[in-house]
Each structure stands twice: as structure tokens, then as C-alpha cells.
Symmetry: none
Subunit: 250 residues, 2 copies
DNA sequence: GGTTGCGCCTGACGTAACGTGAGGGTTCAT
DNA sequence: ATGAACCCTCACGTTACGTCAGGCGCAACC
């Protein structure tokens, strides 16, 4: 009642070489061997193989899997629960990526050009965990972020068009004010900043003065934003930040 | 307005080395270089990077990605559509695995013995035909597996009744052939095996001779299957396996 | 009863997609 | 003008296998 390598490989959809490899590294050594040295896999081996393949699917390294599976206090149910948790998380992440691609398609079909920042913000969905943590820290516990995500997800093509147009108008005015040599804490600059705040509130999330000030700092601290603004006109990021803080102060 | 390797790496969540590597293999060569030899990534480069990372996430090899992206007749939207399709399919597959793990957990917590069919479902994520689907997914075909999956999901009670009736008929004929003392590699037995294969193909998934042989082996190796068949008539499991292999050989 | 074919074995080298320094220029703010 | 941060090019290391090569085990076939 045991299976050969070939039989197991066909059942599990892996190559014979893979099973040899797992034997070599001690991850899955068949319970028995025939007199001729043939590998014989027992039912327990099959269960373990199932666990191995699931953890592998989840992106664990083989060595990690060996450690996890050899924890003495973890039985099959523990592993199933853990795997379930991880699978669900992976599924959620995948949904985000899908949503991001859908947004990119929408933007593309209406030939709206996304800026690099937006493009890779969209892309943010499947960046490593550390970035997620950074986003959370930055965007204050994720409440605004969640709000923004929910609203943005429901946007139609027309919404996107209008959003883009509005943003471009605000940016254009900002550039104009900047190039006119007006002071960042002057009336005109502060008005643009205020309109920017309104724009964020209307399209993304409720943007308080406090948050707006945080954004202003982000624009000079974070190279991707700095690159974006200074890409329009050099020095614009710093100027805009001053305008935002001045506007927040009054 | 171009970005350095470090900026791009932070933006996209990949390492600098990865960007170097993509440059080395010609997958993503930055549009410009500074006088000092520094890489400068243009916006077009970022778009291409996005495509690369998405296809990579989908399991394509870098060389394949290069070929896909350099097809002259495919623009960004084409890629987005294709990626969306593949992502959705991947998500569905993941849902299946999750469901399988949930069923395994349920069975485990209630200490219910799994029926043979359920056992196969649990193994579902790793069955050969899934592997086939994986392979086909990579090469853009993959309609067949999806179809069968959708079909099973849409079965009504009447369908299930007919399925069971058909299975019972095949089993009945198998018992008859067996009890008549006919050889397992004879015409009659092989015909029953072939009908069994057709039954699987019609109701579940395309069952190749290869897969069918794997099933036959399972019937004698797995005690639950063996118990099921031998519960009908002792020795039936082994007999059926011989009939299946004989049928597969011709 | 030799041989043919298939499956299995053990090395051993190959490969993809980077990781990880080594050694050395570049840029920029202080 | 000097240190920190960033960039460059080799070049070898690593993971998880793929891919032969050379040879044994066994059931079948002539």
C-alpha cells in the first residue's frame, strides 16, 4: 500500500526530480525503500507532500517549510488554519491588483495619461509588506486610505476625466502663481492650496488642514512626489509645501 | 524628467539589483544614461516595468515576457486586458484551493472520514489536470479546464441524480464483467474502463489515459477507494485497475 | 532465455533570477 | 573638501529545481 515516485509525481502534478530533490534536502523522505533502493511513499508521506506543496504555493522557501512542518506542537489542523489565513490574504492582495489593472484599463481606454506617481501608486497593491506598513504609518492608521480606496474603486470613466481635468487646473494655477514670483504665503498661493485641499476632499478622502500639512511635507520629503512636482517646474514642491502650511495656519 | 535606479526601485518595490538584471538581459534597458554612466528611467520605461512585473507576478519567465512585450502588434491596453484575464483566472483557482482547505478543516475538526470523492477534491489544488491548466494558462489556451469547472459548479440536483445513475450503471457493468470471470484485459472489461473514462470526462474533467491510469492505481493504493470497490465485490479494485491499464495501453 | 522496454537509481553539471559583497567613481550638502 | 549617500561594473553564491549520463530491476515478448 505504498506508491512509487512516478505514481506520486503523477498524482501530485510534480516531477520525479522534485521528489528526489525533496528527499535530498530532507524535506520529504519516503517512509520506506524496497530492497533495490526504490522509494516507497506511504499515506503519511502524501499528507506531508500536500502540506509542502501548499506552503510552496504560498511562497515559502523549502528550508522554511521544513522548519514549519517539523514543529512538534503543530498538527495537520494547525497547518490548515495557517494556510487558510495566508491563502485568504493572498487572495485579497490579488483582488487589489485586479482592481488596479481595471483602473489602469479605464484610464487607458479614455486615453488619460497617468503620471508615474499614480501609475506606481496603482501598482502599490502588490509591493512587499514593508511598504504597506509605511503607507499605514504615513496615512494615519489607514482610515483616509481606506476611504480613498473605496471611493476611487467606484469611479467611472467620466469621473476620472473630470478628476484629471480638475487636478490639472489646480496644478496649472499653482505653476502660474509660482512662475509669477508671488510669495507662497500670499493670498493667491494660499487660495490654490485651499483648492487643492478641496480637490483631495472631494475626490479621495476628507482632508483636514492637519492632513493637508502632512501632505505638504510629504511632497518635499518623498522623492516620488518631489520628482513629480519639480518635474513640472524645479522648486515647485518646496513652494507648494510653503503655500499649504501658510494656508493651514490661517 | 527621468528617475534613477534607486528611485525606481523604491517606487516599484523591487531591488536595484533586479533593475540591473533586467538591463543585463535586455528586458528593460533605461532610455538614457548620464555622462557618468548612471541609468535614467523615462516614463516609457516605467510603463514597461509595470508590464514586466505584472507578467512576472503571473508566473511568466523573463525571456517569455521579453517576447510578449516586444510583439509589435500588442499595445498597453492589449497587455492589460490579457493580464486582467489571467489574474481573474488565478484568483478563481485560488478560491478553489481555499475552499478545498476549508473542507479539509471541516472534515478534520469533526473527525469525519473523507469519502473518496471529497478526498480528491481536497487534493484538488494539485491534481494533474490542474497542473495542465497551469501550463495552459501560461500559454494562453486554457479554456477546457475552466469550462469543466464551471459546468460542475452549475450542476442542478437533476444533473447530480443522472451523474449518480450513470456512475452506478458503469459500476454495475463492471461487477457483472468481473463476476462473469472475464479477464481484466479482455474486450468487455476494457470497454467498461473506457466508459468509466468517458464518464469522468463528461462530468468532471478531461480524463486522459495517463490520468485514468493514475486513478486506477489510486483505487488499489488508497484504502478508502479500495474499501469502496471491494465493498461491492472483494477483489474488484484490483480487477478494475488492471482493466484501466489494459484499456490505456491499447 | 536472452533482450527489450520501462521505471527507478545515483551522481553531476546546467539554469533562471536574482543575492551579496568587492572595489571604485559621482554628487551633494555641510 | 570631505563624508554620506548613491551609482557603476565585475564576479561569485544561492535556491529549486532541469537535464542528461550511466547503470540496475523487472515484467513482457520473441
Amino acid at each position: 500500500m505504498s506508491l512509487s515516485v512516478g505514481q506520486v509525481s503523477r498524482l501530485a502534478g510534480v516531477t520525479v526530480r522534485t521528489l528526489h530533490h525533496y528527499d535530498e534536502v530532507g524535506l520529504l523522505c519516503p517512509g520506506e525503500r524496497t530492497a533495490a533502493g526504490y522509494r516507497r511513499y506511504t499515506e503519511a508521506d502524501l499528507i506531508r507532500l500536500q502540506q509542502v506543496l501548499l506552503y510552496r504555493e504560498l511562497g515559502f522557501a523549502l528550508e522554511e517549510i521544513a522548519v514549519i512542518l517539523d514543529e512538534p506542537r503543530a498538527d495537520e489542523l494547525t497547518h490548515l488554519r495557517r494556510q487558510h489565513e495566508l491563502l485568504v490574504r493572498k487572495s485579497e492582495r490579488l483582488s487589489e491588483v485586479i482592481a488596479a489593472v481595471e483602473r489602469a484599463m479605464e484610464a487607458r481606454t479614455m486615453s488619460v495619461t497617468l503620471t508615474p506617481a499614480e501609475r506606481l501608486e496603482v501598482f502599490g497593491g502588490f509591493r512587499p509588506e514593508d511598504h504597506e506598513a509605511e503607507v499605514e504609518r504615513r496615512w494615519g492608521g489607514g482610515e483616509q486610505y481606506e476611504q480613498s480606496r473605496r471611493r476611487v474603486a467606484a469611479y467611472t470613466k467620466a469621473d476620472w476625466l473630470q478628476l484629471k481635468a480638475e487636478a490639472a487646473a489646480v496644478l496649472g494655477d499653482l505653476v502660474a502663481v509660482f512662475e509669477a514670483g508671488l510669495p507662497p504665503d500670499g493670498q493667491a498661493a494660499m487660495e490654490v492650496a485651499e483648492r487643492h485641499r478641496g480637490h483631495i476632499s472631494r475626490w479621495f478622502y476628507t482632508c483636514t488642514y492637519e492632513i493637508h500639512r502632512g501632505l505638504g511635507e510629504l511632497y518635499v520629503m518623498d522623492p516620488r512626489f518631489t520628482a513629480y512636482f519639480d518635474g513640472q517646474v524645479p522648486g515647485l514642491a518646496a513652494y507648494f509645501r510653503l503655500a499649504i502650511t501658510a494656508n493651514a495656519r490661517r
